[in-house]
């Protein structure tokens, strides 16, 4: 038969512990989300009411359709809010544990920084920094491997998009120095 003796093994050195304490429960987040959606629905509803949510001689005004949608959204989030408040007392399912939150932040914060750097230095510089930094600091991968991977990936992206397919990405001072 086939050779199934070859095993593929990959380790995860910074995996979140299973017994980590909960930071916040799903119920709490549900309440917060419903409140935010409710606020959004009221804001959008008000704006559409202003635009005109009734009928005129030519048919419904531009705000008509979205106004009633914001009413539906408000209704749905109110219902969700009440439902979450009622079930909140008994069931306390975890939204995220502390260890998980740390890991999620370990991706989210670099991604946020990446977007910031893209705004000022261009996408390719940001991409190089993100990949090299993330591999080295979060993945604990050897520095030369991280730098090489980051460089290769960024170069391939540049050739594929900017050169081959003419999809122009935001650029900064570095690319300008090379005449792009």
């Amino acid at each position: 038969m086939s050779q199934t003796d070859l095993e593929i093994v990959v380790d995860d050195p910074t995996a979140p512990e299973d017994d980590s304490p909960a930071v916040v429960s799903s119920g709490t987040i549900e309440i917060v989300v419903c409140l935010l959606l409710l606020a959004l629905a009221v804001t959008l509803g008000y704006d559409n009411w202003h635009t005109g949510a009734s009928w005129d001689s030519t048919g419904p005004e531009p705000g008509y359709f979205p106004f009633y949608l914001s009413v539906i959204l408000a209704g749905g989030s109110l219902y969700g809010l009440v439902a979450a408040l009622i079930t909140h007392r008994e069931a306390a399912s975890t939204f995220v544990t502390r260890a998980q939150a740390r890991r999620v932040m370990a991706v989210f914060v670099p991604t946020l920084l990446f977007c910031l750097v893209t705004q000022f230095l261009g996408l390719y510089v940001a991409s190089f920094l993100l990949i090299a930094g993330f591999m080295r600091l979060v993945g604990r991968i050897a520095l030369w491997k991280s730098l090489l991977t980051a460089f290769l990936f960024t170069a391939i992206m540049f050739v594929t998009f900017d050169v081959a397919f003419d999809v122009i990405m935001p650029k900064g001072p570095l690319e300008a120095a090379f005449g792009y």
């Binding site: 038969m1 086939s2 199934t4 070859l6 095993e7 593929i8 093994v9 990959v10 380790d11 995860d12 995996a15 979140p16 799903s26 987040i29 989300v33 559409n48 635009t51 009928w55 030519t58 048919g59 419904p60 531009p62 705000g63 359709f65 979205p66 949608l69 539906i72 959204l73 209704g75 749905g76 439902a83 939204f95 995220v96 999620v104 991706v107 989210f108 670099p110 991604t111 990446f114 977007c115 893209t118 705004q119 996408l123 990949i131 993330f134 591999m135 979060v138 993945g139 991968i141 991977t149 990936f153 992206m157 594929t160 998009f161 397919f165 003419d166 999809v167 122009i168 990405m169 935001p170």
Partner: protein, 505 residues
């Protein structure tokens, strides 16, 4: 048999070196995306969409749909070898696939999975070939009220038939429809919900939202889990393949049943996930020895894989014939059609014959090529998983950003993508489904236009939605589906329908 002639024409469109190469590239990228954790069909298609902006529509859709087929194939590899479903619809494949791998029958299980995927999509493609032209020519008679009724039917069936809490589906859908309305109003030219922001003037691009909701949020979710894995490596020999194929006729009932379930759930917005579980459960219920399922039975691989692929493929039927996507990925393909300047809907079959039949022909060809490709390259793809996630994650983030920026060349869209990433992460964790949101966002302006045009035509009288037999029955069906849980409950109370009790174990 007009369809056959047009199909042959489609093959003729397709059989150029350029298209065939694009097809291979698409399949390889798709399998890659399907195997990697944190990426799936919809994400892969969304991220790679910008690559196709400069292509002609036919090459673009061929490449994108091949990414989709590849992703469907790829999900099975990790389920069987690592017990990690690469996609939600391959969860049911792990039940019997992984035990088979543990018994040293990995090659057999993989062959079974790929073959049944092939059969499932073949049945669905046959259905599309003959049914889609009929539906679209019927839909050519539709006016705005009929179209609005069909959109309403789609939205209502999500609420009524979805498994999630009803209010969460409603929230997700109304939010999507609202965000679709941001920007310039197409009928009156007035600005809506922009709050004076110049960036919001363009509106919220559907693809930017999708890249954030599926790509970025998936990375965040994946990081929460332990990413260590341990699995079997396998290579497939010709002898095993032929052995499995020789036994295929024995399982024709299972294959046919699963194909049927898949096609049905694919056309209605039930989705591949529900189809794969239903296929598995029914195969188990009808088996003579149900207790042997879950211990490495080949039927347990055939049933869910056939259903998942039949459903994933047939989801394209309503998209092609009516312009209404049957799944998240189909919704993204629909977004792609609009970017390439095609107007999705029944007219597609009349105005863009080359495109439609090229796509349908590519479904046949893509599946054959895909089957050969996965059977021969499994060991390579399985070893992709050796690449640490710390290297994969930032690359996916960069690809997402490139994709989001490329759509409208706007830096604002990268920030929007990040925002949608957070929204997607939170929504997924508290059980607000993303599929209705996606669908609403892509269909929103079309649904609104249809509504306003019918209102203008009727002078503001809602009775227009019951003005003839066709539109009346669609609207009534939509409302019945919306309140289906209530109706079902009432019928059960009166004793009209028997509720199936869970069997004692």
């Amino acid at each position: 048999m007009e369809a056959l002639g047009l199909l042959l024409h489609g093959f003729a469109v397709l059989l150029t070196w350029k298209t065939l190469v694009l097809m291979m590239v698409g399949l390889v990228l798709g399998i890659f995306v399907g195997v990697l954790p944190g990426l799936g069909g919809p994400n892969g298609v969304a991220i790679l969409l910008p690559l196709t902006f400069t292509m002609d529509p036919t090459s673009a859709i061929v490449m994108l749909s091949c990414i989709y087929w590849g992703a469907l194939f790829g999900g099975a590899i990790t389920s069987i070898l690592f017990n990690i479903p690469g996609e939600a619809w391959s969860v049911a494949t792990t039940f019997d696939g992984y035990p088979m791998a543990q018994q040293g029958r990995a090659a057999e299980a993989l062959t079974a999975a790929f073959t049944s995927s092939f059969i499932g999509s073949l049945v669905a493609v046959l259905l599309i070939t003959f049914l889609a032209p009929m539906i679209s020519s019927f839909a050519l008679k539709f006016g705005p009220p009929e179209f609005f009724a069909v959109y309403l039917l789609t939205f209502c069936s999500f609420v009524g038939l979805g498994r999630e809490a009803k209010h969460k589906t409603v929230i997700s859908m109304s939010l999507g429809l609202l965000l679709a309305g941001v920007g310039m109003d197409t009928v009156s030219g007035q600005l809506r919900m922009t709050f004076g922001s110049a960036e919001l003037l363009r509106g919220i691009n559907f693809l930017v939202a999708v890249i954030g909701l599926f790509g970025i949020s998936e990375i965040l979710l994946t990081m929460e889990e332990r990413l260590a894995l341990r699995g079997h490596a396998a290579s497939i020999s010709l002898r095993v393949v032929l052995g499995v194929w020789r036994d295929l006729p024995k399982y024709w009932v299972t294959l046919l049943r699963s194909s049927f379930i898949g096609c049905w759930l694919g056309i209605t917005p039930g989705g591949a996930i529900a189809a794969s579980f239903m296929g598995y459960n029914l195969a188990k219920r009808f088996a003579k020895d149900p207790e042997s399922f879950g211990k490495g039975r080949i039927e347990g691989v055939f049933a869910p894989e056939t259903a998942a692929h039949a459903s994933g493929t047939s989801a394209l039927l309503p998209m092609l014939a009516l312009g209404i996507p049957g799944s998240g990925t189909a919704a993204i393909l629909l977004g792609g059609l609009m970017v390439w300047g095609l107007n999705p809907g029944p007219l597609l079959f009349v105005e863009h014959k080359d495109f439609v039949w090229g796509l349908i022909a590519s479904m046949y060809l893509g599946n054959v090529v895909g089957l050969v490709l996965v059977l021969t390259t499994v060991p390579i793809f399985a070893s992709i998983l050796r690449v640490p996630f710390a290297a994969v994650a930032p690359m996916i983030v960069v690809s997402c950003a490139i994709g989001a920026y490329a759509i409208q060349n706007a830096m604002f869209d990268i920030w929007l993508m990040l925002g949608f990433g957070v929204v997607g992460y939170v929504f997924k964790k508290i059980g607000i489904p993303l599929a209705p949101f996606t669908l609403a966002l892509v269909l929103g302006s079309r649904a609104e236009d249809a509504f306003r045009l019918s209102m203008i035509g009727s002078g503001g009288d809602l009775k227009v939605f019951w003005s003839n037999g066709l539109v009346g029955s669609i609207t009534t069906l939509a409302i019945a589906l919306l309140f289906w849980p209530l109706i079902d409950g009432l019928l059960a109370r009166v004793g009209w329908t028997q509720r199936a009790r869970p069997a004692p174990r």
